[in-house]
C-alpha cells in the first residue's frame, strides 16, 4: 500500500467504468478507452480491485496530461477519479 491521494467528496462524475476483478493491464487499457467517451474537463470514475492500478492510473495520468484526482477505498474495491484534459 503506497501513500495514496484521497479524492475529495462530492465529485460530479460523468461516467463510471467497472474494472473490478480485472488484473494488469486491463484496468488501465479500459480506462484509456473509456476516457475517450467523455468531454474535456469531465470526470471518469473507475472501480478497480488490482493493487497495481494505484500506480498505473496516476502514472498514466501524468504522462497523458489528465488530472488524477485521487481514490476512495471501499470494503472490497477502490474508486479512482480522473479529470480528462
Amino acid at each position: 500500500m503506497s501513500d495514496v491521494k484521497q479524492a475529495p467528496d462530492g465529485l460530479d462524475v460523468a461516467r463510471t467504468l467497472d474494472a473490478k476483478g480485472l488484473s494488469c493491464p486491463m484496468p488501465l487499457l479500459r480506462t484509456k478507452k473509456e476516457i475517450e467517451k467523455i468531454n474535456s474537463g469531465e470526470i471518469l470514475e473507475i472501480f478497480g480491485t488490482d493493487p497495481g492500478s494505484r500506480n498505473d492510473i496516476p502514472g498514466w495520468c501524468d504522462r497523458a496530461g489528465h488530472e488524477y484526482l485521487g481514490e476512495k477505498e471501499e470494503a472490497d474495491f477502490i474508486r479512482f477519479y480522473v479529470r480528462k484534459k
Binding site: M1, S2, G21, R63
Partner: protein, 414 residues
C-alpha cells in the same frame, strides 16, 4: 512528544517502508539482481518454470497413475517425479510464492480476487501458451531470458527478441478483444479480509518459512541441507517483486502501451548487474571445499540459441500478455490472491511438462533441433567481450525506451 513516542513512530515508519510502501522499480530491480547473484553463489540460478514443471510432472504422474501409463504421452510419466519439497526448482517456487504472500499480507494487498469469466478463460489459454513457449525457449522469461543473458548464454538474447514480438502481438490482440468481445464480462468477485487477519496470516507464513529452512539445514544430506538457502533467497525474490510490483512483461509491454519505460530500464539494469555477478562467479570457477564448482559455467546455457528461443519467446510473450504476468510475475500475483493467475499455473504446468518430456524423450534439444548451446565467453568474445556486449545491449535498450517515452514513436495506438 516523549522519546518513547518518537521511537514508536520511527519503528512504525520503518515497518511502512519495508512492508507497505511500494518500492521504487530501480531499487527493486537492483535487489532482484543481488538476490539472483546470491542464489547463484549459494547453489544455482533461480527460475520460475522449474517449479511449475515439477508440479506439472506430478499432475501428469497422477493422471498416468489413474488412467494407466500405456497410452501416448502418459508413457513418459510412469515414474514419480522428485518430491515438491526436494526438487530445488519446486522449492524456489514455494519460497517465491510464500515471500510474495508475506509481502502482500503485510502490505494489505492480499485479497482473493475472482476475475470475470472471459479473464478466467484467457488465463487457461495463456497458461498453455506460456508452457509451450517456455519449452521451446529453454525457460520462461527468467530462466530463458533474464538469467540466461545474466548467465552469459546467447539463447537469452534470442528469447528477448521473441518476447518483444510476442508482447506486441499480444497487445494488438487485447485491443482487438476490447472492441469485439463483450462475452464473459460478469462473474467478478473479491473477498477481502480484515488487515489484522492478513498480518496474522503473514506472520504464520513467515514462521513456516523459517521453520522450513531450519528443517532443511538440519538434514545430513548436503543436497537437502542446501535447500534452506534456496528457500529463503527465493522468498526474498518473491517479497521484493511483489513489494516493487516488479514485472518483466510490463517492462516489455509499457513502452508500446503507454510509453512508460520505468520497468524496462529497471530490467535492463538488473540484467547487466546479474551478468557481472555471473561473470565473477564463472570466470575463475571458484571451487567449494569438496572440489565442486560454485557455479558451473554451463548453468542456464541451453541448446535453444536459434529458432527455438525466438519462437518460444514469441509464444511465451503472447501468452504472458493474455495472462497479465510472465513466469515470475504470475507467481507473485498468485501470492497476492489473483485467481486468474492461479488458473494460469496448472495449464502452464501441464503443457510445459508434456512438451519437455516429449523433447527429452526424442533428444530434441540435445540433437540441436531447437538451436545451439552457446556460452558466449567460449566464443571469440571471451569474458570481456561478452560483458561488453551485454552491457552495450542493455544500454541501447535503455536509451531506446527512454527516447520512446518522450517521443511515443513505438506506442501502438488503440
Amino acid at each position: 512528544m516523549s522519546e518513547e513516542g518518537i521511537l514508536g513512530r520511527k519503528i512504525k515508519g520503518l515497518f511502512k517502508v519495508l512492508c507497505q510502501t511500494e518500492w521504487n522499480a530501480t531499487v527493486a530491480g537492483m535487489i532482484v539482481a543481488l538476490l539472483s547473484i546470491l542464489i547463484m553463489a549459494w547453489w544455482r540460478p533461480w527460475g520460475a518454470v522449474g517449479a511449475i514443471r515439477n508440479w506439472g510432472d506430478w499432475i501428469m504422474y497422477g493422471i498416468a497413475s489413474l488412467a494407466g501409463s500405456e497410452a501416448g504421452i502418459l508413457e513418459l510419466f510412469d515414474e514419480a517425479p522428485r518430491s515438491i519439497l526436494i526438487s530445488s526448482g519446486s522449492v524456489i517456487g514455494i519460497g517465491f510464492i510464500a515471500g510474495a504472500f508475506i509481502s502482500a499480507s503485510f502490505g494489505n494487498d492480499f485479497a482473493i480476487r475472482i476475475p470475470p469469466v472471459l479473464e478466467m478463460c484467457k488465463g487457461m489459454v495463456a497458461g498453455v501458451l506460456m508452457g509451450v513457449g517456455a519449452a521451446f525457449a529453454g525457460g520462461c522469461n527468467v530462466g530463458g531470458m533474464y538469467n540466461a543473458i545474466g548467465n552469459l548464454a546467447a539463447n537469452g538474447f534470442a528469447m528477448w527478441l521473441g518476447l518483444v514480438a510476442g508482447v506486441i502481438l499480444g497487445l494488438k490482440y487485447i485491443y482487438w478483444e476490447m472492441e469485439h468481445i463483450s462475452w464473459g464480462s460478469g462473474g467478478a468477485k473479491t473477498f477481502n479480509f480484515p488487515f489484522g487477519l492478513k498480518v496474522v496470516l503473514g506472520i504464520i507464513a513467515l514462521v513456516a518459512l523459517v521453520y522450513g529452512a531450519y528443517c532443511y539445514s538440519g538434514s545430513d544430506d548436503d543436497y537437502v541441507a542446501s535447500l534452506s538457502g534456496i528457500l529463503v533467497i527465493s522468498a526474498g525474490l518473491g517479497y521484493t517483486m511483489q513489494r516493487g510490483r516488479w514485472c518483466m512483461v510490463q517492462g516489455f509491454r509499457e513502452p508500446h502501451m503507454t510509453g512508460d519505460c520505468t520497468l524496462a530500464k529497471s530490467v535492463a539494469l538488473s540484467i547487466a548487474i546479474v551478468a557481472i555477478g555471473a561473470a565473477v562467479l564463472k570466470y575463475s570457477v571458484p571451487m567449494r571445499a569438496d572440489g565442486e564448482a560454485v557455479l558451473d559455467p554451463i548453468n542456464y546455457v541451453r541448446g535453444t540459441f536459434g529458432w527455438g528461443a525466438v519462437v518460444g519467446g514469441f509464444i511465451f510473450g503472447f501468452g504472458a500478455m493474455l495472462a497479465g504476468g510472465c513466469g515470475s510475475g504470475t507467481l507473485w500475483r498468485v501470492g497476492e490472491g489473483q485467481i486468474k493467475l492461479w488458473l494460469v499455473v496448472p495449464f502452464f504446468a501441464i503443457s510445459n511438462s508434456m512438451l519437455v518430456a516429449w523433447f527429452n524423450d526424442n533428444d530434441i534439444e540435445a540433437d540441436g533441433v531447437l538451436g545451439k548451446f552457446v556460452y558466449m565467453p567460449e566464443t571469440f568474445l571471451g569474458y570481456g567481450g561478452t560483458l561488453f556486449l551485454i552491457v552495450f545491449a542493455m544500454v541501447i535498450w535503455y536509451v531506446i525506451v527512454d527516447w520512446n517515452e518522450d517521443t511515443g514513436k513505438m506506442i501502438i495506438e488503440m
